[in-house]
């Protein structure tokens, strides 16, 4: 087990190094300076642009900038945000928890809804319920996450006004709420973005779960459970679902990168102050340090998520440990 973890960590370090290098090269190859643009019609005089480039060391040759950047990253220093005038690490410390909260909530939606729908479909295969749910999951599976987010925003935010349309909490009333009120306010704001991000994944989970359940239902022990006179609900949820969950666990490792990339879009649609939105803004502003830092942090989260999924799988399925 220790050797397995060590190998995976070495692989992870190599991936993160590659991501850091590629992102650095790509963002610096893009034409234009981070200091050129203000807003529509607001352009910055070239001498001010040049001065800013000198201030931030962007007048140095690219290899010099790269070596300095790498040595800083190794020491945990992601540099300085040109746009926000602050260390990138400070911005990340504020943003990463929001992204993890959103991704975590979406993960719950994804597995809870997906597993239940898959189980429901497999209980009555080829029934009308199964057909309708298959259609719905296929539709959701094909839906771009940002479009789904926009639709949820327009219907449940703007038109029905059941849910707030953006942010992690209501900036106007939040300071005046009780502790319980603050939790409620945050949960209320979390619902739409989490559903938008988790629902597409739930469709994938449901399709996996349905297939796994149908596989398990054909097994002999299921026949035995039914022959013992257990109710259908107990047979389905205690015996079939428990065994059919194993393949779904593998989805966890796949889901995390998908959720993080989806979070980039959902965070923008719902004004959610996470790492993804920060990265999108930084790309527009050519905020080099934030872009490269966000890529590194995301890569670390993805490889850690994958590692966690592998370890989880080895815990729940003893056969993988024996094979290793």
């Amino acid at each position: 087990m220790a050797r397995f973890v060590a190998v995976r960590i070495a692989q992870a370090a190599a991936i993160v190094f590659l991501v850091a290098t590629l992102t650095f090269v790509l963002i610096h190859l893009a034409p234009g300076s981070p200091f050129m643009a203000g807003g529509e019609g607001l352009v910055v005089p070239p001498e001010i642009v040049e001065q800013q480039e000198r201030n931030f060391g962007l007048d140095q040759p690219l290899p010099v900038q790269y070596l300095r950047y790498l040595s800083n990253v190794v020491r945990g220093d992601f540099g300085y945000s040109f746009a926000a005038h602050r260390p990138v690490r400070e911005a990340f410390l504020e943003r990463v928890p929001n992204t993890l909260l959103l991704a975590g909530a979406a993960l719950i939606v994804m597995f809870l809804v997906g597993t239940l729908v898959g189980a429901l479909q497999s209980a009555r295969p080829a029934s009308k319920t199964d057909d309708v749910l298959s259609l719905v999951t296929l539709g959701l599976y094909s839906t771009p996450v940002f479009w789904l987010g926009l639709m949820l925003l327009l219907v449940f935010g703007e038109s029905l006004q059941w849910f707030p349309v953006g942010g992690t909490h209501d900036a106007v009333v939040y300071p005046y709420l009780t502790a319980l009120g603050k939790v409620g306010n945050r949960l209320h704001h979390l619902v739409l973005p989490a559903v938008a991000l988790g629902l597409v994944g739930a469709a994938v989970t449901a399709r996996y779960q349905r297939a796994a359940m149908l596989e398990v239902i054909r097994q002999d022990f299921m026949r035995t459970a039914k022959a013992k006179g257990l109710t259908e609900r107990i047979v389905l949820f205690r015996h079939a679902l428990r065994n059919a969950l194993l393949p779904t666990v593998t989805l966890f490792g796949l889901a995390f990168p998908v959720l993080l990339s989806g979070a980039v879009l959902v965070e923008s649609v719902f004004a959610w102050p996470g790492l993804g939105r920060l990265a999108v803004d930084a790309v527009h502003q050519r905020d080099y340090a934030v872009v490269t830092g966000a890529a590194i942090v995301t890569a670390v989260m993805v490889v850690l998520g994958s590692l966690l999924a592998d370890l989880l799988y080895r815990v729940v399925d003893p056969r993988t440990r024996e094979a290793a």
């Binding site: 893009a30 034409p31 234009g32 300076s33 981070p34 200091f35 050129m36 643009a37 203000g38 807003g39 529509e40 019609g41 607001l42 352009v43 910055v44 005089p45 070239p46 001498e47 001010i48 001065q51 800013q52 201030n55 926000a84 005038h85 602050r86 911005a91 504020e94 943003r95 925003l153 327009l154 703007e158 029905l160 006004q161 059941w162 707030p164 349309v165 953006g166 942010g167 992690t168 909490h169 900036a171 106007v172 009333v173 300071p175 005046y176 709420l177 009780t178 009120g181 409620g184 965070e267 923008s268 649609v269 004004a271 959610w272 102050p273 939105r277 920060l278 803004d281 527009h284 050519r286």
Partner: protein, 553 residues
């Protein structure tokens, strides 16, 4: 569905009131108890005016930090008679090169410290410091020094006399506190904690910045220029206009200062609780011709070095139609390189007309004929074709480019549109790699901005097309150096006429900015140069309080 919706909204409301524990209504009385929520499509960068470059940061800075004096309602930048006192209560030119400003005795920083002449001289040093790279630094070039004679007196010395002497001394700088920032090394000033937790001297004091979400300001009820009409301002940040607009339409915000395209304006007009407020923009859009060959800048451009070709192209573009199609008619076709925010703007000034027949005749005289019958004019085997550079970040420019392409096609000119991401677009324009570029310039209320794009000196900066006319240069220089308003006005008039005759660009449109504002506010006014600067005079009459007006510290 309607019943379900009502039940859910009622239960959510009940839950909110139960959990809220908010300040009971009635603790604030009068018509200064309102809260305004501004929905912005981007976050502020930093709340330190010399370092701030984003619109939102600048707008919030305008409520936290005052200038020495401000332009009057007519935005006239010449002379000093029409200016409105802010931190300076009076001023006097003791000789043509010396200005003496007297500060108010009751001006205070939000930590209670008096605002003194030493703050003003410190601010001048910061703005002039190359390490700060303040946008306004060049505006202060002709000021030799600012010195404190005593706590309330500032002496400004100029290198020479000119029309906007007073404007330059009082308008560009937002005064920042020496007692807080003096010990901070200049190279660390922009990143200092002050920029995220500022102490100002304006009508509102800083309360809180929740990164990525909001900034909250509260009124300084003892503000020395009068109690602000609002109790609280909350800026909410979104990643884009769609979400910002949805917040406004869903009644979660009160103001968007710039709605963008006609579709957004229509959606706001259709909302019962909102009104559309129009105000002039300080930005004008233009299509500039490149005078040099982009493949070899030592040679003149094969098409646009010829003034008659430039004139013909200008005549062939139906700008009122473009304005109607792109902005729904909300705006103006400018008579030259200017916006209505400039005091030299004149509605009656003649515009280059749309005259495609005359354009055809001019081109025929220059030898451009459709000799092969392919619909495109040609001369010596070369088609009359050019590339128009446009940025993808600007919907009005992209739409207008399509219409221009079609209008020019009708007279036999082929236009190839190249759309580029904004930074790439700026880089390519700055490198002169284009035949024609769809530019925009603004944010200025001084006619000096004309010279910043259309003078020979500007060829190193924003004069992307490399236009040069010594007569225009002289007229601009004389207009800027004129010491009386009438002379300045006449010289600017001559300069604009000379530029338009040269046709270095097609002055496409200058939009009327449309803001979406909640109907409960009184006293709403928006300025083209600093839309938020007058926000402190907005009010909510008590009989129009919204739920969010009742929450306050």
């Amino acid at each position: 569905m309607k019943t379900l919706s009502t039940m859910l909204r009622l239960s959510a409301g009940t839950l909110l009131v139960t959990l809220a524990g908010c300040e009971p209504a009635g603790t604030c009385s009068g018509d200064w108890c309102g809260t305004v929520v501004v929905s912005a499509a981007a976050e502020a960068d930093v709340l330190l005016p010399p370092a701030s470059r984003q619109d939102v940061g600048i707008a919030i800075g305008d409520l936290l930090f005052l200038k020495l004096a401000d332009v009057g309602p007519d935005l006239r930048t010449v002379g000093n008679a029409a200016f409105v006192p802010q931190l300076a209560e009076s001023w006097e030119f003791t000789d043509p090169l010396t200005l003496v400003l007297t500060l108010r005795s009751d001006a205070r920083w939000h930590d209670g410290t008096p605002v003194t002449a030493s703050d003003v001289t410190f601010t001048f040093d910061v703005y002039r410091d190359t390490l700060m790279a303040a946008r306004e630094r060049q505006r202060l070039d002709r000021i030799v020094s600012m010195a404190a004679r005593d706590d309330r007196t500032v002496v400004v010395r100029y290198s020479r006399a000119y029309a906007e002497q007073f404007f330059d001394a009082v308008y560009h700088m937002r005064i920042i506190p020496r007692h807080v920032l003096d010990s901070v090394p200049r190279d660390r000033l922009a990143g200092h904690a002050f920029g995220r937790q500022p102490i100002g001297n304006g009508p509102f004091r800083f309360v809180q910045w929740r990164t990525g979400e909001s900034i909250e300001l509260e009124a300084d009820s003892t503000f020395f220029l009068g109690r602000p009409g609002l109790r609280r301002i909350v800026w909410r940040f979104s990643a884009d206009m769609n979400t910002a607009l949805t917040q406004l339409l869903a009644d979660e915000a009160d103001v968007i200062n710039f709605l963008g395209g006609p579709d957004n304006v229509r959606r706001v007009e259709e909302a019962d609780h909102l009104s559309v407020r129009e105000y002039p923009s300080s930005v004008y859009f233009y299509v500039a011709f490149n005078f040099r060959d982009p493949s070899d800048p030592s040679r003149p451009h094969p098409l646009f070095a010829d003034r008659e070709v430039r004139r013909a192209v200008t005549l062939a573009v139906d700008r009122p139609t473009v304005l109607q199609a792109v902005l729904g008619g909300r705006g103006y076709v400018p008579p030259g390189p200017m916006s209505p925010a400039l005091w030299i703007w004149d509605d009656e000034r003649p515009r280059v007309p749309f005259d495609s027949a005359e354009a055809r005749r001019i081109l025929a005289r220059r030898g451009w004929m459709d000799s092969d019958g392919d619909g495109t004019l040609d001369r010596g085997g070369e088609p009359l074709a050019f590339e128009l550079l446009v940025t993808t970040s600007s919907a009005p420019r992209r739409q207008a480019a399509q219409i221009i392409q079609e209008q020019l096609r009708r007279i036999g000119i082929s236009v190839r549109i190249t759309e580029l991401e904004f930074n790439t677009f700026l880089s390519q324009a700055a490198n002169r790699q284009f035949d024609a570029v769809f530019g925009a310039y603004g944010g200025e209320i001084s006619p000096a901005s004309v010279g910043e794009v259309w003078s020979t000196a500007a060829r190193e900066t924003f004069n992307y097309g490399q236009y040069s006319n010594p007569t225009v240069d002289r007229l601009i220089r004389n207009a800027m150096n004129a010491t009386d308003v009438q002379s300045a006005e006449g010289l600017w008039d001559q300069a604009i006429t000379a530029i338009v005759e040269d046709a270095p660009a097609i002055w496409m449109f200058t939009p009327t900015t449309a803001a979406g504002v909640h109907r409960r506010f009184d006293g709403v006014s928006l300025r083209p140069d600093q839309w938020a600067a007058t926000l402190w005079s907005w009010r909510v009459p008590p009989d129009r309080y919204h739920e969010r007006d009742r929450f306050a510290r």
